[in-house]
Amino acid sequence: MMPTDHSLIQAFQSNLEKEAVFTKLMHRHQEKLYYQIKRMGLEHADADDVAQNVWIKVWGKLDGFKMESEFSTWLFRIGHNETINYINKQKRNGQNHAFEDGLRDYNTASNTQGPQASQIQIHLEQGIKQLPEKQKFVFMLRYFEEMDYEKIASITSTTVGGAKANYHQAVKKLQEFISNR
């Protein structure tokens, strides 16, 4: 039987093979965290940087983790803060993240649905680009990670109502943006 996150954390907190336990936690959660950071529009190198910083923070704080929430919620909360801080820092320094560079090349072999589909995806990307960071984060968690609003609220330090409002605002903006093209 696979050990639960909480039993792995207990082992970590009792100083039992810290590195091995931590590596297991990373293997279990690294992909979802990285994907969420990447969906925010960061290039691979930047997303890698943010993801590493998140895990280093987790290593430093895991001894104080009180098991009051799921580990993944806590991890994503740190991920949310790190990502937003990183993007804001980039904006302050006048650097653009990936979405700003215009548009990915959708006319590649990966796109199986023709040029019209590519056009829609370009509009989608442009639409997502103009969303405020928090709305973008909530939208990605809800649509792609299929998280419930309680968890999203906990991750983004808002209320359930606030998380719902963020999602619906994001959808409304995307609908307006895409239908105006």
Binding site: E19, F22, Q30, Y34, R39, A51, Q113
Partner: protein, 146 residues
């Protein structure tokens, strides 16, 4: 009860997703996501190792940061000490001498005078004791009746 809640929550998730899927099909959304989250093929195998390495590596930035803090403290101490030793002291003495009497608050003058009077009284008392003169009221009254 739990399954009812799950069903409701799933329905609400589907409703939320359909808000977007009415404009962009689920497949296109999925394809867009695949595009966005793409990363080098062996990235996730090497990632934990990179993180563990960074955890154990002493950070150069922290040394620079500490050094920076120390140098700021040293400069601050140097400036304060410099001001203390090299600023002309005569300025402050001149300032003390130039204080006009009317600038001294009344209560400070009162306190000074009272204090001085108390010292003078004590001195007088000591003088009387050392001479041995008796100034008790009884003697005084006898003197006056005579």
């Amino acid at each position: 009860m739990n399954s009812m809640e799950n069903k409701r929550s799933n329905n609400s998730l589907l409703e939320d997703q359909n808000l977007i899927n009415s404009l962009i099909s689920k497949e296109l959304m999925k394809e867009w996501e695949q595009h966005v989250i793409a990363c080098p093929p062996t990235y996730f195998q090497s990632f934990p190792h990179k993180v563990i390495e960074r955890i154990h590596k002493p950070t150069k930035t922290s040394i620079i940061y500490t050094f920076g803090k120390l140098s700021i403290a040293a400069v601050f101490i140097f400036v304060v000490a410099g001001l203390y030793f090299w600023l002309p002291k005569t300025n402050s003495e001149a300032a003390l001498n130039s204080i006009a009497l009317q600038e001294i608050p009344i209560n400070e003058i009162d306190a000074y005078v009272n204090n001085y009077e108390r010292v003078a009284d004590a001195d007088l008392q000591n003088e009387i004791i050392s001479i041995g003169v008796n100034l008790e009221p009884t003697n005084l009254s006898n003197d006056s009746s005579n």
